[in-house]
């Protein structure tokens, strides 16, 4: 069946953007709360980002509506409530934007965002996203494998880990005025995880450029790990010999480990990870090992005690 899918059709075309915007507009009018709903779409629609669907990553699951993907998420740089990012992220300026690649590489370089957008062929991939808080979504992302960028900068033999660092600017990111986490936000991967074909350097979702609240203009998406591993609004990528200590590891060393692979067998210290609620569903569903990507990634961790390396 899979092979017969026409790859010229983007998943976002099957469930069109208009479908969601129409629904949104209808609801806003029905509730009578917002005049914004009456504005023509062109006034608020984001920039399109052309991409080709990668048929290896078309998920046979219903996608989470655009309004939920962009209206409900964690991005503590804009506040700790899940509607804060959508409300406050308009202060983020995504142009000009550069990403500095440094550390254990032969060719360190500062890339302009325009350059990164053209560095490899843009793909659309539909991934599951599992938040550590036991909710989940299905999102059509736009990007290309991080390995494409890594190859360009030629890591040295000492490069064992990759660290991602988010912008730090309390003027643009008001949430950083509170010390809820240690800023700037950082995350990291082991080199083999970073080179894995699933690890996506991401620039867009639902056929358009990333909205600010989802980590514009550039973020990482690692679908087999809890959502917080996927750092947003990245300004620096650093190759290191030693394992980086991530923002959440600093915040709660007993609750958040470096690996943070989705694992129904290893509970969060305070709540169960056995089940999750897919946004839009009433019933919870069982959480899958490695978020359903065990076939592709379990081999990276063979021989490791996942209770210990959580």
């Amino acid at each position: 069946m899979r092979d017969k899918i026409d790859t010229r059709i983007l998943p976002s075309e099957i469930t069109s953007r208009e479908h969601y915007t129409d629904r949104r507009r209808f609801m806003q009018m029905a509730a009578g709360v917002s005049a914004a709903g009456l504005l023509p779409e062109s006034l608020w629609a984001a920039d399109k980002l052309p991409a080709t669907a990668n048929q290896a990553y078309l998920l046979d699951e219903e996608k989470t509506p655009y309004k939920d993907v962009t209206g409900y998420n964690n991005f503590y740089e804009f506040g700790t409530s899940k509607d804060d990012p959508a409300r406050h992220a308009h202060t983020l300026k995504t142009r000009p934007w550069t990403v500095t690649v440094e550390g254990e590489v032969h060719k360190p370089k500062t890339f302009a965002i325009e350059e990164l957008l053209k560095l490899a062929a843009m793909e659309e991939r539909v991934y599951r996203l599992r938040c550590v808080e036991a909710w989940s979504m299905v999102i059509p992302w736009l990007g290309y494998p991080l390995s494409e960028l890594i190859k360009q900068v030629e890591p040295t033999g000492n490069a064992k880990f990759v660290e991602f660092i988010t912008l730090q600017d309390p003027m643009q990111m008001p949430g950083q005025r509170s010390a809820v986490l240690e800023w700037p936000y950082n995350e990291g991967l082991r080199m083999d995880e970073a080179m894995h074909p699933l690890t996506l350097l991401t620039f867009g979702l639902y056929g358009e450029m990333l909205p600010n609240q989802n980590g514009a203009p550039i973020r990482i998406v690692i679908p087999w790990k809890y959502g917080f591993k996927s750092a947003k609004s990245i300004v620096k990528i650093r190759f290191t010999e030693h394992q980086p200590v991530s923002a959440w590891m600093k915040a709660g060393p007993s609750e958040y480990g470096f690996y943070s692979n989705v694992n129904p067998e290893v509970d969060h210290r305070r709540w169960s990870q056995a089940k999750e609620r897919r946004i839009g569903d009433f019933f919870k569903r069982p959480t899958l090992p490695f978020n359903g990507y065990a076939d592709q990634v379990a081999g990276l961790y063979s021989g490791m005690d996942l209770q210990k390396y959580f």
């Binding site: 503590y76 899940k82 709660g252 509970d267 305070r270 169960s272 839009g280």
Partner: protein
């Protein structure tokens, strides 16, 4: 000031009606949100949080009545306490039912596991149970039957419930402790007031 020191029965019943209607607002907002798809992407989480928040808020307001009466001398305030306490119980029940029905959907196995393994539920569940005898005895017939002294003693359980509720909130928050900390400070002031009065009473006796 003197005018509101004493209230006639008619005014008092009006005040109670206003309290009742005010206490219903969060509930009505949830209902409207539910009908108009206004509860966001994760409605069950929203309902759980809102009912939990209002339970704690109303417990704090209820605990604030005695200090306020002692400071102002408005003795009629005591007669609004039952309405406030029962409102807190109403939201606590909604909060518990949301967990039972919407969140777990009667998964008894999962619920028992939660109570044993999840510290915030280990504390939250008995705190809710402790509210039950208080709600049941919140009527004149049972006050008479128990006798004022025993009734007051029983209703001191609300101090335990208040502490349990705040700890429950504190332990479930992922990182941002602003809200639970605010409740903790308010509760500390309200309970501290009682300790102070008790201590001063003892001083006066000896």
């Amino acid at each position: 000031m003197i005018a509101i020191k004493k209230l006639d029965d008619k005014t008092l019943s009006r005040v109670k009606t206003i309290i009742f209607l005010l206490a219903l607002i969060p509930f009505v907002r949830l209902i409207i949100g539910g009908i108009t798809d206004g509860l966001g992407a994760n409605p069950i989480e929203k309902i759980t949080r809102s009912t939990g928040y209002w339970t704690l808020t109303l417990i704090m307001v209820t605990l604030g009545i005695t200090p306020l009466r002692k400071l102002t001398g408005w003795n009629w305030l005591t007669r609004t306490r039952r309405m406030l306490g029962l409102s807190a119980f109403f939201y606590a029940s909604l909060h518990f039912l949301t967990y039972l029905v919407l969140d777990q959907f009667f998964d008894w196995n999962g619920i028992v596991k939660d109570i044993i393994k999840r510290p915030y539920i280990t504390v939250g569940f008995p705190s809710f149970l402790l509210l039950l005898p208080l709600a049941i005895t919140s009527n004149n017939a049972l006050i008479k039957k128990l006798g004022g002294k025993r009734w007051r003693c029983l209703h001191r359980l609300v101090y335990v419930v208040g502490v349990g509720g705040v700890v429950h909130y504190w332990w479930l928050v992922k990182k941002d402790l602003t809200n639970p900390m605010t409740f903790a400070v308010v509760l500390a002031v309200l309970l501290g007031f009682r300790v102070f009065y008790w201590w001063r009473g003892r001083q006066a006796k000896s």
